[in-house]
Symmetry: C2
Subunit: 340 residues, 2 copies
């Protein structure tokens, strides 16, 4: 690997001049610049990013911490981050935390040692928030989930609102007994979605019935089990909304096995709009989150901050979720139908 000194020798100038010629900084005469460029090309010179990072004190590298890239919700976020980063000449280091606070902490430390300039964090534990608050982490943008008390930029979706719209939609179709498959307890996201569901019921003057609210864990199996419970209730719901799509698919499976048709016998609504939502039969009504945009925006906010183009105040971007109506919730219930 030729170094800048090799190029300097070949072009008959000093390393300083080569640096200036290649970076377009400082004064260099056109002829000298050309000699340098030629020499560099002839030798196949590639400047060492490491050496440059050492003196510039910036690596133009972002860390991306996701729970599990294998979960269909995250790839689009990752893609958004990567696209925005690549456009700006940054690279992205991918880390899977499995939602484990220890892994999360280890990775943050790991990335800090490697001097990534900033972190896009989908944080599963409050510990990550504390680390950031203590300043034991590079600049951070939280995406999707925000640990309490962290003073940092955040990009989130209005989960409560999204679920409110989804439940309203079912109410407008005439459903009155609407089941809810909740997310993992302790997840802020899950709680916001539950709150949206409850708020919609409240608007419609329906008292929430705890039997209709089944615990879940964001997995297909969890949704399936929860739905088995809901569907065996004496007064079974005419519609079920799940806190995410994977569980909604589980609900569909349970319904199918119970001999129920979707949407005629049971309307189903999910949340996230993962790729498979529109591919299953019937296509799933769900709440689309602008995942790609979230990732892209997060990366942009982060890079703005890193390059000093952001004020001292932490910024909070709340994106809107969008109800995507597909066939799994069908048309309005017949007047005087099963609804109470």
């Amino acid at each position: 690997m030729p170094t800048i000194r090799d190029v300097a020798r070949a072009a008959g100038v000093s390393p300083a001049t080569v640096s200036r010629a290649l970076n377009g900084s400082g004064y260099v005469s056109p002829e000298t610049r050309q000699r340098v460029l030629d020499a560099a090309a002839r030798l196949g010179f590639t400047p060492s990013y490491i050496a440059r990072s050492l003196v510039r004190k910036a690596t133009r590298t972002l860390g991306l911490l996701v729970p599990d890239i294998t979960n269909p919700y995250f790839p689009a976020i990752a893609r958004g981050v990567e696209d925005a980063a690549a456009r700006a000449g940054y690279s992205v280091v991918l880390c899977n935390t499995d939602g484990d606070p220890d892994h999360e902490e280890d990775y943050i430390q790991f990335l800090r040692e490697r001097q990534v300039d900033g972190l896009v964090l989908i944080a599963s534990s409050p510990r990550a928030g504390e680390l950031v608050a203590r300043g034991d982490a590079p600049p951070v943008v939280f995406v999707d989930r925000v640990p309490p008390g962290a003073r940092a930029d955040v990009v989130v979706v209005d989960n409560r609102r999204g679920m409110l719209e989804a439940t309203r939609h079912l109410l407008a179709l005439g459903h009155r007994r609407i089941g809810f498959v909740a997310g993992r307890v302790g997840s802020g996201t899950a709680e916001e979605r539950l709150a949206g569901y409850l708020a919609a019921l409240g608007e419609a003057g329906i008292a929430p019935d705890s039997h209709y609210i089944a615990p879940g864990d964001f997995t297909f199996q969890g949704g399936y089990q929860a739905a088995r419970g809901l569907l065996s209730l004496p007064d079974r719901p005419t519609a079920v909304v799940a806190a995410n799509d994977l569980m909604a698919v589980g609900v569909c499976r349970a319904a199918l096995e119970a001999g129920l048709r979707i949407p005629q016998d049971l309307a189903v609504v999910g949340y996230d709009d993962i790729p498979m939502a529109e591919l299953i039969h019937p296509p799933l009504t769900t709440v689309a989150q602008p995942t790609y945009q979230m990732g892209e925006l997060a990366a942009r906010l982060l890079m703005e901050r890193l390059e000093g183009r952001a004020g001292p105040e932490p910024r909070r971007v709340v994106l809107e979720a969008r109800l995507v109506v597909r066939e799994s919730c069908g048309a309005a219930l017949a007047a005087g139908g099963r609804g109470g």
Copy 2:
């Protein structure tokens, strides 16, 4: 950020001794080591990976080039790479090439400048192979697809064999008119799978009928369109096998819309075993590729090579695909059924 010289001053020793104490290299007395460790902890010293990389001439960073992390086939590979890398203290830079040769080339150059130690490459174009052959790239392991003529380690799956097994299975169930939805032309993977299909037919003494082979492009839409064609043939197939799952799901949709039941009226088999394959109804029979293992193995081979623990010969690992029988291809056709 405290530097090694700060620690040296605080511990009353030289930077060289601090380095030795922290890395456990060379001679350091137990007492001195302890003093250094204490000083480092007190100052919150984190060694600069950049400075270290500069002198060690290794960044312990791997580049991972995938066409699109948003495609459900790739996250598991990425996860495998990342897990293996993390275990060995390496980090992984994620890049999406969109299968575009220009992007691919740009990214390889980009990662080269950043001195990643090695590349895990899911290469969509022969150009990447040429780059590697010319030595204009860091050490590479090709995964899933191998550009012709590249002398490098590769991890692949026996696509021909996988598709052979899948088609054999349908033949064993009594199917004789088996449609095939092909992959993108020019894709080696697609061609191998087609070859497997043809070989199975050959074994069974069935002459391939070009009407039964529909062109596809690995997308849901492509599979859907292809199936519409196949299902409107005068002597429509009793089974369809698609070169990947996304297209198989498209086939299912087309069948459903044509009023055909799966598997009673049409057996469907896919390829890849993406996460949604087992979640749809009916669950899809498909050929599972050990994607996670591919990624993990690729990363391990690469790191072995980087650390000089591999011989000069390029290694070629061929993993076996595994037929996963689910409900979408049902039981044996009734004797004397529709088969010719």
